[in-house]
Symmetry: C2
Subunit: 286 residues, 2 copies
Amino acid sequence: MIITGSIEKARMISCKRAKLGKAVGFIPTMGALHKGHLSLVKKARKECDFLMVSIFINPTQFGSKGGYKGYPRSLAKDKKQLKEEGVDLLFLPKESTMYPLGKERASVCVCENNLSKTLCGESRPGHFKGVCTILTKLFNILRPNIAYFGQKDYQQALIVKKLVKDLNFSTKIRVLPIIREEDNLAMSSRNIYLKGLARKSSRCLYQALELAKKLIKSRERDPKRVINQMKQLVKSGELAKIDYIEIVDASSLKKLKWIKGKVLIVLAVYIKKVRLIDNIILNVKK
Amino acid sequence: MIITGSIEKARMISCKRAKLGKAVGFIPTMGALHKGHLSLVKKARKECDFLMVSIFINPTQFGSKGGYKGYPRSLAKDKKQLKEEGVDLLFLPKESTMYPLGKERASVCVCENNLSKTLCGESRPGHFKGVCTILTKLFNILRPNIAYFGQKDYQQALIVKKLVKDLNFSTKIRVLPIIREEDNLAMSSRNIYLKGLARKSSRCLYQALELAKKLIKSRERDPKRVINQMKQLVKSGELAKIDYIEIVDASSLKKLKWIKGKVLIVLAVYIKKVRLIDNIILNVKK
Protein backbone atom coordinates (compact mmCIF):
# COMPACT_ATOMS: atom_id res chain seq x y z
CA MET A 1 0.00 0.00 0.00
CA ILE A 2 1.39 3.36 -1.06
CA ILE A 3 0.93 5.98 1.66
CA THR A 4 1.31 9.62 0.72
CA GLY A 5 0.35 13.02 2.00
CA SER A 6 1.37 14.74 -1.22
CA ILE A 7 -1.35 16.03 -3.53
CA GLU A 8 0.96 15.90 -6.51
CA LYS A 9 2.10 12.35 -5.84
CA ALA A 10 -1.44 11.08 -5.22
CA ARG A 11 -2.67 12.86 -8.35
CA MET A 12 0.11 11.43 -10.47
CA ILE A 13 -0.35 7.86 -9.24
CA SER A 14 -4.11 7.93 -9.75
CA CYS A 15 -3.84 9.62 -13.13
CA LYS A 16 -1.36 6.97 -14.30
CA ARG A 17 -3.77 4.16 -13.41
CA ALA A 18 -6.67 5.94 -15.12
CA LYS A 19 -4.58 6.37 -18.27
CA LEU A 20 -4.04 2.61 -18.32
CA GLY A 21 -7.82 2.23 -18.39
CA LYS A 22 -8.01 0.84 -14.85
CA ALA A 23 -11.19 1.20 -12.79
CA VAL A 24 -10.07 3.56 -10.05
CA GLY A 25 -12.11 3.47 -6.84
CA PHE A 26 -12.07 5.86 -3.92
CA ILE A 27 -13.38 5.89 -0.37
CA PRO A 28 -13.07 9.24 1.44
CA THR A 29 -12.96 8.81 5.23
CA MET A 30 -12.11 10.72 8.37
CA GLY A 31 -10.34 7.66 9.80
CA ALA A 32 -11.31 5.89 13.05
CA LEU A 33 -12.35 3.11 10.72
CA HIS A 34 -15.04 0.63 11.74
CA LYS A 35 -16.83 -2.28 10.08
CA GLY A 36 -19.00 0.14 8.12
CA HIS A 37 -15.95 1.64 6.41
CA LEU A 38 -14.48 -1.82 5.91
CA SER A 39 -17.64 -3.00 4.17
CA LEU A 40 -17.09 -0.20 1.64
CA VAL A 41 -13.44 -1.20 1.27
CA LYS A 42 -14.30 -4.87 0.70
CA LYS A 43 -16.95 -4.07 -1.91
CA ALA A 44 -14.73 -1.52 -3.68
CA ARG A 45 -11.82 -3.95 -3.64
CA LYS A 46 -13.96 -6.40 -5.64
CA GLU A 47 -15.17 -3.75 -8.11
CA CYS A 48 -12.02 -1.74 -8.79
CA ASP A 49 -8.56 -2.37 -10.22
CA PHE A 50 -6.96 0.37 -8.16
CA LEU A 51 -8.39 1.32 -4.79
CA MET A 52 -7.69 4.57 -2.97
CA VAL A 53 -8.75 5.56 0.55
CA SER A 54 -8.25 8.98 2.08
CA ILE A 55 -8.09 9.76 5.76
CA PHE A 56 -8.58 13.44 6.44
CA ILE A 57 -10.47 14.94 9.34
CA ASN A 58 -11.84 17.91 7.49
CA PRO A 59 -11.96 20.93 9.81
CA THR A 60 -14.40 22.89 7.62
CA GLN A 61 -17.29 20.47 8.18
CA PHE A 62 -17.34 20.80 11.96
CA GLY A 63 -19.45 23.52 13.51
CA SER A 64 -17.55 23.70 16.78
CA LYS A 65 -13.85 23.38 17.43
CA GLY A 66 -14.69 20.73 20.02
CA GLY A 67 -16.28 18.54 17.38
CA TYR A 68 -13.11 18.62 15.33
CA LYS A 69 -10.69 18.23 18.20
CA GLY A 70 -12.75 15.53 19.85
CA TYR A 71 -13.14 13.47 16.69
CA PRO A 72 -11.73 9.97 17.31
CA ARG A 73 -8.36 9.12 15.78
CA SER A 74 -6.76 5.67 15.35
CA LEU A 75 -4.31 6.09 12.51
CA ALA A 76 -1.97 3.16 13.21
CA LYS A 77 -4.88 0.72 13.41
CA ASP A 78 -6.52 2.29 10.33
CA LYS A 79 -3.37 1.86 8.26
CA LYS A 80 -3.03 -1.77 9.32
CA GLN A 81 -6.64 -2.57 8.42
CA LEU A 82 -6.48 -0.84 5.03
CA LYS A 83 -3.28 -2.68 4.18
CA GLU A 84 -4.86 -6.00 5.16
CA GLU A 85 -7.86 -5.24 2.93
CA GLY A 86 -5.54 -4.73 -0.04
CA VAL A 87 -6.00 -0.99 -0.49
CA ASP A 88 -3.54 0.34 -3.11
CA LEU A 89 -3.18 3.95 -2.08
CA LEU A 90 -3.80 5.70 1.22
CA PHE A 91 -3.99 9.47 0.78
CA LEU A 92 -3.17 11.08 4.09
CA PRO A 93 -2.83 14.83 3.63
CA LYS A 94 -2.09 17.29 6.40
CA GLU A 95 -4.47 20.16 7.06
CA SER A 96 -1.82 22.54 5.73
CA THR A 97 -1.73 20.54 2.49
CA MET A 98 -5.46 20.74 1.89
CA TYR A 99 -5.74 24.33 3.13
CA PRO A 100 -2.28 25.79 2.47
CA LEU A 101 -3.27 29.35 3.39
CA GLY A 102 -5.33 28.20 6.36
CA LYS A 103 -8.94 27.16 6.01
CA GLU A 104 -10.14 30.73 6.58
CA ARG A 105 -8.31 31.95 3.46
CA ALA A 106 -9.70 29.23 1.22
CA SER A 107 -12.28 31.60 -0.21
CA VAL A 108 -13.81 29.22 -2.74
CA CYS A 109 -16.48 26.86 -1.51
CA VAL A 110 -19.00 24.46 -2.96
CA CYS A 111 -22.57 24.64 -1.64
CA GLU A 112 -25.69 22.59 -2.10
CA ASN A 113 -28.73 24.76 -1.49
CA ASN A 114 -31.70 22.44 -1.44
CA LEU A 115 -31.16 18.98 0.03
CA SER A 116 -28.73 20.38 2.58
CA LYS A 117 -31.24 22.78 4.15
CA THR A 118 -33.01 20.11 6.19
CA LEU A 119 -32.24 17.33 8.72
CA CYS A 120 -28.49 17.31 9.58
CA GLY A 121 -28.01 20.44 7.46
CA GLU A 122 -30.42 22.31 9.70
CA SER A 123 -28.79 21.04 12.89
CA ARG A 124 -25.26 21.58 11.64
CA PRO A 125 -25.09 24.81 9.63
CA GLY A 126 -22.15 24.84 7.23
CA HIS A 127 -21.57 21.10 7.60
CA PHE A 128 -22.53 20.13 4.06
CA LYS A 129 -20.73 23.12 2.60
CA GLY A 130 -17.59 21.73 4.23
CA VAL A 131 -18.38 18.24 2.92
CA CYS A 132 -19.09 19.39 -0.65
CA THR A 133 -15.96 21.52 -0.73
CA ILE A 134 -13.59 18.85 0.56
CA LEU A 135 -15.09 16.20 -1.73
CA THR A 136 -14.70 18.49 -4.75
CA LYS A 137 -11.06 18.93 -3.77
CA LEU A 138 -10.50 15.20 -3.26
CA PHE A 139 -12.30 14.30 -6.49
CA ASN A 140 -10.20 16.85 -8.37
CA ILE A 141 -6.99 15.43 -6.93
CA LEU A 142 -7.77 11.74 -7.26
CA ARG A 143 -10.27 11.67 -10.17
CA PRO A 144 -11.87 8.37 -9.19
CA ASN A 145 -14.17 6.47 -11.53
CA ILE A 146 -16.25 5.31 -8.58
CA ALA A 147 -16.56 6.69 -5.05
CA TYR A 148 -18.18 4.82 -2.18
CA PHE A 149 -20.37 6.15 0.63
CA GLY A 150 -22.37 4.56 3.43
CA GLN A 151 -26.11 4.79 3.75
CA LYS A 152 -25.86 5.79 7.42
CA ASP A 153 -25.11 9.29 6.14
CA TYR A 154 -28.04 9.05 3.73
CA GLN A 155 -28.44 12.81 3.34
CA GLN A 156 -24.72 13.18 2.63
CA ALA A 157 -24.87 10.47 -0.03
CA LEU A 158 -27.84 12.17 -1.69
CA ILE A 159 -26.04 15.53 -1.65
CA VAL A 160 -22.87 13.97 -3.09
CA LYS A 161 -24.93 12.49 -5.94
CA LYS A 162 -26.35 15.96 -6.62
CA LEU A 163 -22.86 17.48 -6.42
CA VAL A 164 -21.55 15.05 -9.00
CA LYS A 165 -24.53 15.59 -11.29
CA ASP A 166 -24.70 19.38 -11.05
CA LEU A 167 -20.96 19.92 -11.42
CA ASN A 168 -20.49 17.25 -14.12
CA PHE A 169 -17.97 15.09 -12.31
CA SER A 170 -17.46 11.81 -14.14
CA THR A 171 -17.28 9.89 -10.85
CA LYS A 172 -19.99 7.33 -10.13
CA ILE A 173 -21.39 7.31 -6.61
CA ARG A 174 -22.13 3.99 -4.91
CA VAL A 175 -24.07 3.94 -1.65
CA LEU A 176 -23.79 0.79 0.46
CA PRO A 177 -25.99 -0.46 3.32
CA ILE A 178 -25.60 0.43 6.98
CA ILE A 179 -23.54 -2.03 8.99
CA ARG A 180 -24.74 -2.57 12.56
CA GLU A 181 -23.44 -3.83 15.86
CA GLU A 182 -24.98 -7.02 17.28
CA ASP A 183 -27.66 -4.98 19.07
CA ASN A 184 -28.36 -3.07 15.84
CA LEU A 185 -26.61 0.18 16.74
CA ALA A 186 -25.37 1.61 13.43
CA MET A 187 -21.58 1.49 13.16
CA SER A 188 -20.03 4.90 13.76
CA SER A 189 -16.61 6.22 14.68
CA ARG A 190 -18.30 7.99 17.57
CA ASN A 191 -19.60 4.75 19.12
CA ILE A 192 -16.34 4.30 21.03
CA TYR A 193 -17.45 7.18 23.26
CA LEU A 194 -20.51 5.21 24.39
CA LYS A 195 -19.83 3.27 27.58
CA GLY A 196 -22.12 1.41 29.99
CA LEU A 197 -25.56 2.97 30.25
CA ALA A 198 -24.88 5.34 27.32
CA ARG A 199 -24.05 2.39 25.10
CA LYS A 200 -27.24 0.67 26.19
CA SER A 201 -29.34 3.82 25.69
CA SER A 202 -28.05 4.17 22.14
CA ARG A 203 -30.22 1.21 21.14
CA CYS A 204 -33.20 3.56 21.19
CA LEU A 205 -32.37 4.85 17.69
CA TYR A 206 -32.86 1.54 15.98
CA GLN A 207 -35.75 0.64 18.28
CA ALA A 208 -37.51 3.82 17.15
CA LEU A 209 -36.91 2.89 13.50
CA GLU A 210 -38.25 -0.62 14.14
CA LEU A 211 -41.31 0.86 15.83
CA ALA A 212 -41.95 3.11 12.82
CA LYS A 213 -41.60 0.14 10.50
CA LYS A 214 -44.09 -1.85 12.59
CA LEU A 215 -46.61 0.99 12.69
CA ILE A 216 -46.38 1.52 8.93
CA LYS A 217 -46.71 -2.23 8.36
CA SER A 218 -49.91 -2.14 10.40
CA ARG A 219 -51.21 0.53 7.97
CA GLU A 220 -50.44 3.73 9.85
CA ARG A 221 -49.89 6.39 7.17
CA ASP A 222 -49.85 9.62 9.15
CA PRO A 223 -46.20 10.66 9.61
CA LYS A 224 -47.05 12.84 12.63
CA ARG A 225 -48.49 9.92 14.55
CA VAL A 226 -45.51 7.71 13.71
CA ILE A 227 -43.02 10.42 14.62
CA ASN A 228 -44.80 11.08 17.92
CA GLN A 229 -44.59 7.45 18.92
CA MET A 230 -40.91 7.36 17.94
CA LYS A 231 -40.30 10.48 20.03
CA GLN A 232 -42.03 8.95 23.02
CA LEU A 233 -39.91 5.83 22.74
CA VAL A 234 -36.66 7.80 22.52
CA LYS A 235 -37.64 10.20 25.33
CA SER A 236 -38.57 7.34 27.65
CA GLY A 237 -34.97 6.12 27.53
CA GLU A 238 -32.27 7.55 29.77
CA LEU A 239 -29.57 9.98 28.56
CA ALA A 240 -31.21 10.51 25.15
CA LYS A 241 -31.95 13.95 23.74
CA ILE A 242 -33.65 14.18 20.37
CA ASP A 243 -32.07 16.40 17.69
CA TYR A 244 -34.64 15.46 15.05
CA ILE A 245 -36.91 12.61 14.03
CA GLU A 246 -38.43 12.88 10.55
CA ILE A 247 -40.21 10.94 7.85
CA VAL A 248 -39.38 12.41 4.46
CA ASP A 249 -39.45 11.62 0.76
CA ALA A 250 -36.28 9.61 0.12
CA SER A 251 -35.39 11.59 -3.03
CA SER A 252 -36.31 15.18 -2.16
CA LEU A 253 -35.99 14.95 1.66
CA LYS A 254 -39.23 16.96 1.82
CA LYS A 255 -41.55 16.30 4.75
CA LEU A 256 -44.51 14.09 3.95
CA LYS A 257 -48.13 14.67 4.76
CA TRP A 258 -48.89 11.04 4.05
CA ILE A 259 -46.57 8.03 4.10
CA LYS A 260 -46.36 6.72 0.56
CA GLY A 261 -43.67 5.74 -1.94
CA LYS A 262 -39.97 5.55 -1.11
CA VAL A 263 -39.71 7.12 2.32
CA LEU A 264 -36.76 7.81 4.57
CA ILE A 265 -37.27 7.48 8.29
CA VAL A 266 -34.38 9.24 9.88
CA LEU A 267 -33.30 10.49 13.26
CA ALA A 268 -30.47 12.20 15.10
CA VAL A 269 -30.20 11.73 18.84
CA TYR A 270 -27.70 12.86 21.41
CA ILE A 271 -26.70 10.20 23.92
CA LYS A 272 -25.04 12.39 26.54
CA LYS A 273 -22.83 14.50 24.27
CA VAL A 274 -22.45 11.94 21.49
CA ARG A 275 -24.56 12.70 18.42
CA LEU A 276 -25.81 9.57 16.69
CA ILE A 277 -27.77 9.22 13.46
CA ASP A 278 -29.61 6.34 11.87
CA ASN A 279 -32.18 5.70 9.16
CA ILE A 280 -34.16 3.17 7.23
CA ILE A 281 -35.78 3.37 3.81
CA LEU A 282 -39.19 1.84 3.22
CA ASN A 283 -41.09 1.33 0.00
CA VAL A 284 -44.68 1.98 1.04
CA LYS A 285 -47.10 0.86 -1.66
CA LYS A 286 -50.34 2.57 -0.65
CA MET B 1 -12.83 20.97 -36.29
CA ILE B 2 -15.09 18.66 -34.30
CA ILE B 3 -18.28 20.41 -33.19
CA THR B 4 -20.35 18.81 -30.46
CA GLY B 5 -23.01 19.75 -27.96
CA SER B 6 -22.71 16.45 -26.11
CA ILE B 7 -21.03 16.40 -22.72
CA GLU B 8 -20.18 12.73 -23.03
CA LYS B 9 -18.66 13.11 -26.50
CA ALA B 10 -16.64 16.19 -25.54
CA ARG B 11 -15.45 14.47 -22.36
CA MET B 12 -14.45 11.34 -24.23
CA ILE B 13 -12.55 13.18 -26.95
CA SER B 14 -10.65 15.36 -24.49
CA CYS B 15 -9.92 12.45 -22.18
CA LYS B 16 -8.52 10.42 -25.08
CA ARG B 17 -6.08 13.22 -25.99
CA ALA B 18 -5.01 13.64 -22.38
CA LYS B 19 -4.33 9.91 -22.12
CA LEU B 20 -2.00 10.20 -25.09
CA GLY B 21 -0.06 12.79 -23.10
CA LYS B 22 -1.13 15.68 -25.32
CA ALA B 23 -1.20 19.23 -23.96
CA VAL B 24 -4.92 19.99 -23.97
CA GLY B 25 -5.86 23.67 -24.05
CA PHE B 26 -9.22 25.28 -23.46
CA ILE B 27 -10.79 28.68 -24.01
CA PRO B 28 -14.25 29.14 -22.50
CA THR B 29 -16.25 31.85 -24.31
CA MET B 30 -19.77 33.15 -24.65
CA GLY B 31 -19.32 33.54 -28.42
CA ALA B 32 -19.63 36.82 -30.34
CA LEU B 33 -15.91 36.40 -30.82
CA HIS B 34 -13.64 39.38 -31.38
CA LYS B 35 -9.92 39.95 -31.74
CA GLY B 36 -9.47 39.60 -27.98
CA HIS B 37 -10.79 36.04 -28.10
CA LEU B 38 -8.79 35.33 -31.23
CA SER B 39 -5.57 36.45 -29.55
CA LEU B 40 -6.23 33.76 -26.92
CA VAL B 41 -6.91 31.21 -29.66
CA LYS B 42 -3.70 32.07 -31.54
CA LYS B 43 -1.56 31.86 -28.41
CA ALA B 44 -3.21 28.64 -27.25
CA ARG B 45 -2.84 27.13 -30.71
CA LYS B 46 0.93 27.60 -30.42
CA GLU B 47 1.13 26.19 -26.90
CA CYS B 48 -1.23 23.19 -27.07
CA ASP B 49 -1.45 19.95 -29.03
CA PHE B 50 -5.22 19.82 -28.79
CA LEU B 51 -7.24 23.00 -28.54
CA MET B 52 -10.82 23.23 -27.34
CA VAL B 53 -13.11 26.26 -27.33
CA SER B 54 -16.56 26.38 -25.78
CA ILE B 55 -19.34 28.75 -26.72
CA PHE B 56 -22.01 28.88 -24.05
CA ILE B 57 -23.92 31.95 -22.98
CA ASN B 58 -24.26 31.02 -19.35
CA PRO B 59 -27.61 32.20 -18.01
CA THR B 60 -26.59 31.93 -14.34
CA GLN B 61 -24.02 34.72 -14.56
CA PHE B 62 -26.44 37.40 -15.73
CA GLY B 63 -28.28 39.44 -13.14
CA SER B 64 -31.17 40.45 -15.39
CA LYS B 65 -32.96 38.45 -18.04
CA GLY B 66 -32.32 41.34 -20.43
CA GLY B 67 -28.58 40.96 -20.02
CA TYR B 68 -28.81 37.33 -21.05
CA LYS B 69 -31.31 37.80 -23.87
CA GLY B 70 -29.55 40.89 -25.19
CA TYR B 71 -26.12 39.28 -25.23
CA PRO B 72 -24.73 39.40 -28.80
CA ARG B 73 -24.71 36.19 -30.82
CA SER B 74 -22.82 35.44 -34.05
CA LEU B 75 -22.50 31.66 -34.13
CA ALA B 76 -21.94 31.13 -37.86
CA LYS B 77 -19.13 33.69 -37.93
CA ASP B 78 -17.67 32.32 -34.69
CA LYS B 79 -17.52 28.80 -36.09
CA LYS B 80 -15.83 29.98 -39.27
CA GLN B 81 -13.20 31.94 -37.36
CA LEU B 82 -12.43 29.12 -34.95
CA LYS B 83 -12.06 26.67 -37.81
CA GLU B 84 -9.71 29.05 -39.61
CA GLU B 85 -7.60 29.36 -36.46
CA GLY B 86 -7.21 25.59 -36.34
CA VAL B 87 -9.26 24.88 -33.23
CA ASP B 88 -9.68 21.11 -32.77
CA LEU B 89 -12.91 20.90 -30.78
CA LEU B 90 -15.77 23.36 -30.43
CA PHE B 91 -17.98 22.49 -27.45
CA LEU B 92 -21.38 23.98 -28.05
CA PRO B 93 -23.80 22.74 -25.42
CA LYS B 94 -27.43 23.75 -25.14
CA GLU B 95 -28.73 25.31 -21.95
CA SER B 96 -30.73 22.12 -21.31
CA THR B 97 -27.50 20.11 -21.56
CA MET B 98 -25.64 22.19 -18.99
CA TYR B 99 -28.68 22.60 -16.74
CA PRO B 100 -30.79 19.50 -17.48
CA LEU B 101 -33.32 20.17 -14.72
CA GLY B 102 -33.41 23.90 -15.44
CA LYS B 103 -30.92 26.30 -13.93
CA GLU B 104 -33.13 26.86 -10.89
CA ARG B 105 -32.93 23.19 -9.92
CA ALA B 106 -29.16 23.03 -10.20
CA SER B 107 -28.79 23.30 -6.44
CA VAL B 108 -25.00 22.99 -6.26
CA CYS B 109 -22.96 26.12 -6.83
CA VAL B 110 -19.38 27.23 -6.49
CA CYS B 111 -18.73 30.55 -4.75
CA GLU B 112 -15.70 32.70 -4.18
CA ASN B 113 -16.20 34.79 -1.08
CA ASN B 114 -13.37 37.28 -0.99
CA LEU B 115 -12.12 38.61 -4.35
CA SER B 116 -15.65 38.52 -5.74
CA LYS B 117 -17.08 40.89 -3.13
CA THR B 118 -15.71 44.03 -4.76
CA LEU B 119 -15.67 45.82 -8.18
CA CYS B 120 -17.82 43.90 -10.72
CA GLY B 121 -18.88 41.49 -7.97
CA GLU B 122 -20.41 44.37 -6.04
CA SER B 123 -22.17 45.78 -9.13
CA ARG B 124 -23.34 42.39 -10.37
CA PRO B 125 -24.40 40.24 -7.39
CA GLY B 126 -24.30 36.54 -8.23
CA HIS B 127 -22.23 37.11 -11.36
CA PHE B 128 -19.05 35.42 -10.15
CA LYS B 129 -21.01 32.60 -8.52
CA GLY B 130 -22.39 31.88 -12.00
CA VAL B 131 -18.91 32.15 -13.51
CA CYS B 132 -17.26 29.87 -10.91
CA THR B 133 -20.03 27.28 -11.23
CA ILE B 134 -20.02 27.08 -15.03
CA LEU B 135 -16.22 26.97 -15.15
CA THR B 136 -16.15 24.14 -12.60
CA LYS B 137 -18.62 22.28 -14.82
CA LEU B 138 -16.64 22.96 -18.00
CA PHE B 139 -13.32 22.05 -16.35
CA ASN B 140 -14.86 18.81 -15.06
CA ILE B 141 -16.15 17.93 -18.51
CA LEU B 142 -13.10 18.91 -20.57
CA ARG B 143 -10.27 18.56 -18.04
CA PRO B 144 -7.91 20.93 -19.81
CA ASN B 145 -4.22 21.17 -18.91
CA ILE B 146 -4.27 24.89 -19.63
CA ALA B 147 -7.17 27.35 -19.80
CA TYR B 148 -6.89 30.85 -21.26
CA PHE B 149 -8.50 34.08 -20.08
CA GLY B 150 -8.21 37.71 -21.08
CA GLN B 151 -6.92 40.46 -18.83
CA LYS B 152 -9.88 42.69 -19.66
CA ASP B 153 -11.81 40.64 -17.11
CA TYR B 154 -8.94 40.95 -14.66
CA GLN B 155 -11.09 40.25 -11.60
CA GLN B 156 -12.54 37.16 -13.26
CA ALA B 157 -9.07 35.86 -14.10
CA LEU B 158 -7.94 36.38 -10.50
CA ILE B 159 -11.02 34.56 -9.18
CA VAL B 160 -10.49 31.69 -11.62
CA LYS B 161 -6.91 31.33 -10.39
CA LYS B 162 -8.24 31.17 -6.81
CA LEU B 163 -10.91 28.66 -7.87
CA VAL B 164 -8.30 26.38 -9.39
CA LYS B 165 -6.02 26.68 -6.38
CA ASP B 166 -8.65 26.27 -3.67
CA LEU B 167 -10.45 23.37 -5.37
CA ASN B 168 -7.24 21.63 -6.52
CA PHE B 169 -7.95 21.59 -10.23
CA SER B 170 -4.85 20.54 -12.17
CA THR B 171 -5.59 23.12 -14.89
CA LYS B 172 -3.08 25.94 -15.39
CA ILE B 173 -4.56 29.41 -15.91
CA ARG B 174 -2.98 31.72 -18.48
CA VAL B 175 -4.02 35.38 -18.60
CA LEU B 176 -3.26 37.27 -21.82
CA PRO B 177 -3.15 41.03 -22.50
CA ILE B 178 -6.09 43.21 -23.46
CA ILE B 179 -6.50 43.70 -27.20
CA ARG B 180 -7.70 47.16 -28.22
CA GLU B 181 -9.40 48.88 -31.15
CA GLU B 182 -7.39 51.52 -33.00
CA ASP B 183 -8.67 54.22 -30.67
CA ASN B 184 -7.73 52.04 -27.68
CA LEU B 185 -11.24 50.90 -26.74
CA ALA B 186 -10.81 47.43 -25.20
CA MET B 187 -12.22 44.70 -27.43
CA SER B 188 -15.56 43.43 -26.13
CA SER B 189 -18.50 41.53 -27.56
CA ARG B 190 -20.67 44.40 -26.42
CA ASN B 191 -18.82 47.00 -28.53
CA ILE B 192 -21.08 46.23 -31.51
CA TYR B 193 -23.85 48.04 -29.63
CA LEU B 194 -21.85 51.29 -29.66
CA LYS B 195 -22.72 53.47 -32.63
CA GLY B 196 -21.89 57.08 -33.52
CA LEU B 197 -21.57 59.28 -30.46
CA ALA B 198 -21.78 56.31 -28.09
CA ARG B 199 -18.82 54.70 -29.81
CA LYS B 200 -16.88 57.95 -29.58
CA SER B 201 -17.83 58.42 -25.90
CA SER B 202 -16.53 54.97 -25.08
CA ARG B 203 -12.98 56.27 -25.51
CA CYS B 204 -13.27 57.89 -22.09
CA LEU B 205 -12.48 54.59 -20.35
CA TYR B 206 -8.99 54.31 -21.77
CA GLN B 207 -8.48 58.07 -21.57
CA ALA B 208 -9.18 57.87 -17.84
CA LEU B 209 -6.67 55.06 -17.47
CA GLU B 210 -4.08 57.05 -19.42
CA LEU B 211 -4.73 60.05 -17.20
CA ALA B 212 -4.20 57.92 -14.07
CA LYS B 213 -0.96 56.58 -15.52
CA LYS B 214 0.24 60.10 -16.25
CA LEU B 215 -0.64 61.36 -12.77
CA ILE B 216 1.11 58.44 -11.11
CA LYS B 217 4.14 58.95 -13.36
CA SER B 218 4.28 62.54 -12.17
CA ARG B 219 4.48 61.21 -8.59
CA GLU B 220 0.86 61.43 -7.48
CA ARG B 221 0.40 58.65 -4.91
CA ASP B 222 -2.98 59.44 -3.38
CA PRO B 223 -5.54 57.12 -4.99
CA LYS B 224 -8.44 59.43 -4.05
CA ARG B 225 -6.98 62.32 -6.03
CA VAL B 226 -6.27 60.12 -9.04
CA ILE B 227 -9.75 58.58 -8.92
CA ASN B 228 -11.35 62.02 -8.64
CA GLN B 229 -9.58 63.26 -11.73
CA MET B 230 -10.56 60.08 -13.60
CA LYS B 231 -14.17 60.59 -12.53
CA GLN B 232 -14.13 64.18 -13.73
CA LEU B 233 -12.79 63.09 -17.10
CA VAL B 234 -15.43 60.38 -17.54
CA LYS B 235 -18.27 62.61 -16.31
CA SER B 236 -17.29 65.41 -18.66
CA GLY B 237 -18.01 63.11 -21.64
CA GLU B 238 -21.47 62.64 -23.04
CA LEU B 239 -23.59 59.50 -22.45
CA ALA B 240 -21.20 58.07 -19.84
CA LYS B 241 -22.38 56.94 -16.40
CA ILE B 242 -19.79 55.63 -13.96
CA ASP B 243 -20.40 52.28 -12.31
CA TYR B 244 -17.09 52.29 -10.44
CA ILE B 245 -13.55 53.63 -10.76
CA GLU B 246 -11.02 52.12 -8.34
CA ILE B 247 -7.33 51.76 -7.67
CA VAL B 248 -6.68 48.52 -5.82
CA ASP B 249 -3.93 46.09 -4.95
CA ALA B 250 -3.59 43.86 -8.01
CA SER B 251 -3.45 40.65 -5.94
CA SER B 252 -5.99 41.21 -3.17
CA LEU B 253 -8.24 43.77 -4.96
CA LYS B 254 -8.26 45.70 -1.69
CA LYS B 255 -8.54 49.48 -1.89
CA LEU B 256 -5.26 51.31 -1.40
CA LYS B 257 -4.53 54.22 0.87
CA TRP B 258 -1.35 54.89 -1.00
CA ILE B 259 -0.34 53.92 -4.55
CA LYS B 260 2.55 51.49 -4.27
CA GLY B 261 3.51 48.08 -5.63
CA LYS B 262 1.53 46.21 -8.25
CA VAL B 263 -1.69 48.19 -8.58
CA LEU B 264 -4.79 47.67 -10.68
CA ILE B 265 -6.53 50.74 -12.04
CA VAL B 266 -9.94 49.57 -13.08
CA LEU B 267 -13.26 51.04 -14.12
CA ALA B 268 -16.74 50.11 -15.27
CA VAL B 269 -18.75 52.69 -17.17
CA TYR B 270 -22.14 52.59 -18.81
CA ILE B 271 -22.25 54.23 -22.26
CA LYS B 272 -26.01 54.56 -22.66
CA LYS B 273 -27.07 51.05 -21.61
CA VAL B 274 -23.85 49.29 -22.60
CA ARG B 275 -21.64 48.38 -19.65
CA LEU B 276 -17.93 48.57 -20.49
CA ILE B 277 -14.93 47.66 -18.36
CA ASP B 278 -11.24 48.31 -18.73
CA ASN B 279 -8.08 48.24 -16.63
CA ILE B 280 -4.35 48.66 -16.55
CA ILE B 281 -1.76 47.29 -14.15
CA LEU B 282 1.12 49.45 -12.99
CA ASN B 283 4.19 48.53 -11.03
CA VAL B 284 4.73 51.56 -8.83
CA LYS B 285 8.15 51.50 -7.19
CA LYS B 286 7.83 54.11 -4.48
